[in-house]
């Protein structure tokens, strides 16, 4: 028998549902509770997790900078300098190292950091002499500003 509407009886059924579900669940495997197993709960949690991760990229920069500052403060206090004095005198000596590099130096290159602290301390003393002295003393060596013409 020829049935011309047989083609309409073929339902289009999903064959790769497993992989579509796994695509979402793979990001939820480390969650707590049923949302690491159940798709309906996982979809909501994974979406929120992605949103939070996007927003956190801006806060990560703030958090890391605060961590670097804490570490530099600890290391400079070990050498007898407070953090504002250290940073300001380094900048005045034209040493433009950023806080990330300074924190890494403090951890992995302690002798380099010690010499930087000594440089900042010397520049600080020269600043005091220039402010409090009569001007008859010669200018300090580290207070000289080098102009680079690029």
């Amino acid at each position: 028998m020829v049935v011309l509407s047989a083609a309409r009886w073929v339902r289009s059924r999903l064959s790769d549902r497993f992989w579509r579900v796994q695509e979402v669940l793979k990001y939820a495997r480390h969650f707590r509770g049923r949302k690491n197993r159940c798709y309906k709960l996982a979809v909501k949690s994974v979406r929120r997790a992605f949103v939070r991760s996007t927003k956190a990229r801006r806060e990560k920069k703030r958090f890391l900078r605060a961590l670097w500052i804490t570490r530099i403060e600890a290391a400079s206090l070990e050498h007898g300098l407070k953090y504002p004095a250290f940073i300001s005198n380094l900048l005045k000596s034209q040493v433009e190292l950023n806080r990330k590099v300074l924190a890494d130096l403090a951890i992995y290159e302690p002798k380099t950091f010690k010499s930087l602290a000594a440089l900042a301390q010397r520049r600080r003393q020269e600043g005091f002499l220039a402010a409090l002295g009569d001007g008859k003393e010669p200018e300090g060596i580290f207070s000289r500003i080098v102009h680079h013409h690029y």
């Binding site: 804490t70 570490r71 530099i72």
Partner: protein
Amino acid sequence: MASYSRAAQQWATFARAWYLLDAKMQPPGKIAAATVLRLEGRHKPIYHALNDCGDHVVIINTRHIAFSGNKWEQKVYSSHTGYPGGFKQVTATQLHLKDPTAIVKLAVYRMLPKNLQRRTLMQRLHLFPEDVIPEDIEKNLLQEIPQPRAVPRRLDEYTPEEIAAFPKVWTPPKDFRRR
């Protein structure tokens, strides 16, 4: 260090140290500030909140702390027992007489960050009212933290030579009558 193996150097870097702090004639707030710095681990360049890099601090002579101003009479420590009419207010003097370590303990507890780590860090704080420390703690001590306040000397602690050598603003004449 070239001579240490990586594991040994990491073990030494993250080891927990024991510090001693003498609270004689020191303001408890400054004592607490120095202590909290060491308890949290913020005195180390390897600090991180998750690192658990804090150290132990042993504070001695807490009975001899010195508040500035009139705080012994004016500072009030309040608490509530939870029962109606149970609001208790005690001056610093009364609290100190009842428990000589309570003032420093409260100062440190209130200065620590208000998170779940606070109780763990308080367990690493050791307070003693006098000089006497148990032997096992004394064996652990590594270094003494410098006192935050420079203690001035009393007049009777100066020798007569130092008093005579001290510059005078004016010398009174021979017939000067002091009332």
